[in-house]
């Protein structure tokens, strides 16, 4: 690993941009590899990785130290975006941020684990684009490890948290029990199936899927006891639904005003809930005004619902900072130490060369096996002493205490940040 390389992270998230902005910069799963390739092609970018979820779009890049990559990355990925929606971090700050993201500490739903799968998807795309190297690969692997460790060792992992679950919780505030609820899930991707699972666990009365390719979700539908249909039958399914959850990846909203029967809506007195968990949004904005019985919520609304419970959030993050600081320290130590790898190999080779030369000079051709054994043991011990000193040197590059201070400073900067047009402050 080149010690002269530095990390740069540029991104936007639910903390800094409302869903109306986020949906413009989301990188679809199928476009991930080409986006990474384009970013990798920028001057001075050695490695790069893109994470795009419903909460965030971020690029983590490795460049030559001293060269400012922010402007070029921003111009490539966040063209025409106001600066107030974007955050940038470098080196340790970038590590802190990314490890927090992997741990679910920066997620809309605290501790949600979907982000780990999304990091893995991003890794695959970066690897396929040839943009993963000795700097990013270990970082991403360690981020996944940190994400798992934080969830396993703190209260953050208790309960299976996800956006899907929060959405169902909000719907439960309307229906109470789901026994008499007719639910329609639009989209049968990972989130759609997760939503359907949560609904089944809560005993939903009737469950249907509407998806572009029904044949691809037959197994899931069968397992969940759900009806499955194509998007051409959307109007018919919407007509009988009490709860509609849209989780699709589409450029144009698949759920338009014409899918709702105005007369039926006017007749019904039971509230109808439409949850839009998609980025870009899948429910047309005009749908909310169709009937006074309709409650339409998108991800920003769920974020507000989640943020009201700040007390619970504070309790859940107890103990996470110690783990993160220790893991960042471990990563930096390994990174510095791995920079010594060529020097260590050279040192080992030279030690062995000196040993062989000395043995030859002392014993000539008649070597005593005992002397050879002593010489080998001595070389090994001297080499171990030298390596220990190098390890100690690598560890002392940045102490855990210094990192703890940096971590607290990072948290302070987060608390003073205000999300424009989103977050709990927005009414």
């Amino acid at each position: 690993m080149d010690p002269r390389a530095s990390f740069v992270l540029v991104g936007l998230s639910h903390r800094t941009a409302p869903v109306a902005v986020r949906e413009r910069y989301v990188v679809r799963h199928c476009d991930l590899q080409s986006t990474v390739t384009a970013l990798r092609g920028l001057p001075d970018v050695q490695e790069c990785f893109v994470l795009s979820t419903c909460n965030r779009t971020e690029v983590l890049a490795v460049g030559t130290k001293g060269v400012d990559l922010v402007a070029s990355l921003q111009a490539q990925l966040f063209r025409n975006l106001e600066a107030r929606h974007v955050y940038t971090y470098a080196d340790v700050q970038a590590l802190i941020h990314f490890f927090r993201v992997a741990s679910g500490l920066d997620s809309l739903v605290l501790g949600e684990s979907e982000v780990l799968a999304q990091i893995k998807h991003g890794m695959e795309a970066s690897a396929a684009a040839g943009a993963l190297g000795p700097a990013l690969r270990p970082l991403l692997q360690q981020a996944l490890h940190v994400g798992k460790r934080v969830r396993a060792e703190t209260a953050l992992g208790r309960g299976t948290l996800s956006v899907a679950r929060v959405g169902i919780d909000v719907a439960a505030r309307v229906f109470g029990s789901f026994e008499r609820v007719n639910a329609l899930v639009v989209g049968a991707g990972e989130t759609g199936i997760l939503v359907a699972r949560h609904l089944r666990e809560r005993g939903v009365g009737c469950l249907s899927f509407a998806t572009r390719r029904p044949e691809r979700a037959q197994d899931a539908a069968r397992e969940l006891g759900a009806e499955i249909a194509g998007l051409d039958r959307l109007r018919e399914l919407v007509l009988r639904a009490d709860l509609i959850v849209a989780c699709v990846e589409a450029d144009a909203p698949p759920l338009e005003v014409q899918h709702f029967d105005r007369r039926a809506l006017a007749r019904r007195d039971r509230p109808m809930v439409v949850l839009d968990l998609s980025v870009p949004r899948a429910v047309a904005a005009q749908v909310a005004s169709l009937s006074p019985n309709l409650i339409v919520s998108d991800l920003d609304d769920l974020q507000r619902a989640v943020h009201e419970n700040e007390r619970g959030r504070a309790r859940a993050v107890d103990g996470t900072s110690e783990i993160l600081v220790a893991e960042i320290h471990k990563f930096l130590t390994l990174r510095t130490y791995s920079a010594f790898t060529p020097a260590i190999a050279d040192l080992r080779r030279r030690f062995e060369q000196v040993r062989e030369t000395t043995l030859d000079a002392i014993s000539g051709t008649r070597t005593d096996p005992k002397e050879v054994q002593i010489a080998h043991e001595l070389t090994k011990r001297l080499l171990d002493v030298a390596l220990d000193q190098m390890k100690a040197g690598a560890r002392s590059v940045r102490s855990e205490e210094t990192l703890e201070v940096e971590y607290q400073r990072f948290l302070q900067s987060l608390s003073t940040e205000r999300a424009p047009g989103c977050g709990p402050e927005t009414p």
Partner: protein, 265 residues
């Protein structure tokens, strides 16, 4: 002492229910309400012993009994619904009503000139229970509409966090309406029977007070059985309950006006 203590204990339990974010605090709130109810019941019994008759003797003892009945009914309805999220708001109202009653009630109870007979006691007691239940139903209807409006307008603040689910609020509205409907059924029938048996000269079915009472009886009957009526869902039932609350207040106001058949009831 009770005059100060009762509103204070009700207010404390209201505050505790409003801030009950975990099981321990909710338990503390429930116990405080139990203390308030026991104290209030003791106060009513002591008054009855002192006047040696039914303790509802004037406007303010009626108001105090209504506050007690409302708090008691709420605790029963909330227990049935297994959710006490509406306690903060409902008990704050009870505390306020009890504060008014405590401020104006005679400290030395004065007995009626003519003690009430059993039928009149049943009429008054059931009317107080019915009014309390209908107030509860109406307020839960208002809470349903408020929470629905909050969610529709994408506001997820205090009310969203503290109030029960819309479904639970709807159930509480219907159950309270059913209690009110039953209480009103007994109270009205006994009242009409009394008026007929005494051949009360001023009694007339067309009198606004009688008409409003009958309207309330039908209205809350519809709310109570709204689940069985096609097209009458939670939203319309909540509107009906909230509207019924307005009619109820109007009816109570009419009761305060002098009328020939309701003097001393």
């Amino acid at each position: 002492m009770m005059a100060v203590l009762l509103p204070a204990v009700y207010a404390t339990s209201a505050a505790l229910f409003a801030g009950a974010v975990d099981a321990d605090r909710e338990r503390a709130a429930r116990w405080t309400l139990r203390v308030a109810l026991v104290l209030h019941a003791a106060d009513i019994v002591l008054r009855a012993l002192r006047v040696q008759e039914f303790p509802i003797v004037d406007l303010w003892t009626t108001v105090s009994a209504t506050a007690f009945s409302t708090a008691l009914l709420w605790s029963l309805v909330a227990r049935g619904a297994r959710h006490s999220g509406s306690g903060g708001i409902l008990l704050a109202l009870v505390a306020f009503v009890q504060f008014l009653a405590s401020s104006f009630v005679e400290l030395e109870p004065v007995a009626r000139a003519v003690p009430l007979d059993t039928l009149r006691i049943v009429h008054v007691a059931m009317s107080v229970v019915a009014v309390s239940a209908l107030v509860l139903s109406g307020l839960h209807g208002v809470l349903w509409l408020t929470l629905f409006r909050e969610m529709r307008n994408r506001r997820f603040g205090f009310l969203f966090q503290r109030l029960p689910d819309l479904d639970v609020l709807s159930r509480m509205t219907r159950r309270a309406a059913l209690a009110g409907f039953l209480g009103l059924t007994v109270g009205l029938n006994v009242g009409i029977a009394l008026a007929h048996s005494l051949k009360s000269p001023g009694f007339d079915y067309r009198h606004p007070e009688v008409l409003l009472s009958l309207l309330l009886w039908v209205h809350f009957g519809v709310v109570a059985f709204s689940q069985l009526i096609p097209g009458l869902g939670a939203r319309r039932a909540s509107f009906a309950a909230a509207g019924g609350l307005v009619v109820l207040l109007l009816s109570l106001f009419l009761m305060l006006l002098p009328n020939p058949f309701h003097v001393g009831a």
